[in-house]
Symmetry: C2
Subunit: 276 residues, 2 copies
DNA sequence: CGGCATTTTGACAATCGTCAATCAGTGTGG
DNA sequence: CCACACTGATTGACGATTGTCAAAATGCCG
């Protein structure tokens, strides 16, 4: 199975074999995390960067009456807190939605990747900008669509995002998220989510077999949700990646052996990364 | 009057006098743009980066039934489309909400700033990450707060953001945004916005004199809105800016007198920038 | 003053939330 | 294998928030 993280970065910038190799090394060790566990909490200044390898996690905040709002889904290949060091402390929390596999990348590793691998650096900024575009689309979803289209839109987005990392078929994916969590995502009550889901099922748009979501007619669902995938920026465009070459002297390629040494050393030295 | 753009960037990274000088120079010429004009449209691959100098603009998308959703406010000091070159084409549009003064920065200028002025580069990424944090808070606002608190929250955010660029007093600012636009911002109808505004006024929380918004009791409004400003990352933290020193010699400070010279020269040399 | 955009009002309808009970699925211990 | 507990899904009755429509009032600018 291809590494979802690498699949994802490849859409942001052209990577060399060496880049891929470095990335493979960096994400060797994953840890299991149970469902509904905080990975990072608001106010933290985390030392590790978390990479989701399996399962779904989310960014969320809690408001005073105890209600929760989810602002983003983190699926395999997504990094959790890449650039917090620029902002300082976390202004929101991150938690698993179901049992997950998570890699804890030491900040030093990330800094090495961004400073010494310009293509990877560019790809990491690319994912940051795509995350921002997704946030904007979510605002549209919350503000200007009725509940049924909101939900349909979310399901379409996840289909595309999971397909892009090889975790969805043409029309289905594993979706183990609670109806209450869906409510916290879309700003709805779980009761209403339930009713809308039933509606979508009885309209034949989707089917649920256990944790498996099947979209019976992808085009029809997309149309219903007014889903335009442009904000995911999944299409690779030659124009944009041509600039990659300019970022650093091409000769840096030759330094690759030492990079690998650094990584191996860091992997060997470190006790297996531990959650908080 | 201090340049709002520079005031803003100074919160993201410590700048040298030379950095400031370069920035001053870059934003000399502004153009007037009327209310309700598109600066950039979805699908564009803009050549210029737009900097708002006066007035309010917004990011928005339109959905099929013609409704509009605003995803972000751009206030003086905000850049519009800084990193589109990484993503490719615009996935949303940007328009003025009222008459604005806008600087059209050629992409080449921005590239010079980011490549040759590391502090400015860091500051520009900082503003990008803050924008992302604001998007997240807006999702919370839209999803989990009733209309009156949504509106109060927005007003609090704008108070802080405008204060941070010297465009708001302790408790008031110029706010020339239509109630329909507020509706498009918060996902409400303009009728409901109207009623909520009246409510806030009769509760004595805010006052509106023409285009001037006065917040009678800032603390009370913040409490009502559950406003926590942490997501704006306005506090300067020593920890983060310590690294800045490494980049250049401190002695550059002495160059400040020449700033005016540079300004005058550039005013004489450059033809006025033109919108696309 | 006249025209136009914006704000304000009222009546009514639709969406969605709340509460509380029931049902279904899953895992555990005896 | 079954009783039990627990979480999540489902249902119904009812209420609250917010939207829609259409008209009237107000404010602004030339």
């Amino acid at each position: 199975m291809l590494n979802p993280f690498i699949m994802k970065l490849e859409r942001g910038a052209r990577l060399t074999d060496e880049d891929r190799q470095v990335l493979e090394e960096a994400v060797l060790r994953s840890q299991h995390v149970g469902a509904r566990k905080d990975l990072i909490h608001e106010g933290d200044v985390p030392d590790n960067v978390h990479l989701i390898v399996k399962g779904f996690a989310c960014r969320y905040k809690t408001v005073s009456d105890g209600q929760r709002q989810i602002m983003a889904y983190l699926v395999p290949g997504d990094l959790c807190d890449l650039h917090v060091s620029i902002l300082g402390e976390m202004d929101h929390s991150i938690a698993t939605l179901c049992p997950c596999e998570v890699v804890y990348l030491p900040r030093a590793t990330i800094e090495d990747l961004t400073e010494n691998h310009s293509r990877i650096n560019r790809a990491l900024w690319w994912v940051t900008l795509v995350d921002e575009a997704i946030l904007r689309e979510w605002i549209v979803n919350m503000g200007r669509r009725p509940a049924d289209r909101k939900l349909a839109h979310l399901l379409c987005e996840l289909l595309m995002r999971l397909q892009s990392v090889g975790l969805a078929t043409e029309n289905s994916y594993e979706f183990s998220v609670t109806q209450a969590d869906l409510g916290d995502t879309l700003g709805l009550s779980s009761v209403h989510v339930n009713r809308v889901l039933q509606q979508l099922r009885s309209d034949g748009l989707i089917g649920l077999k256990g944790r498996n979501l099947i979209i019976n007619d992808v085009e029809r669902l997309k149309e219903f949700a007014e889903f335009n995938p442009n904000y995911l920026h999944l299409k690779r465009r030659e124009r944009d990646r041509s600039g990659d070459e300019a970022v650093g002297p091409a000769g840096v390629r030759e330094s690759s052996p030492s990079v690998m040494d650094v990584l191996k050393r860091s992997l060997a030295d470190r006790p297996p990364a531990k959650p908080e």
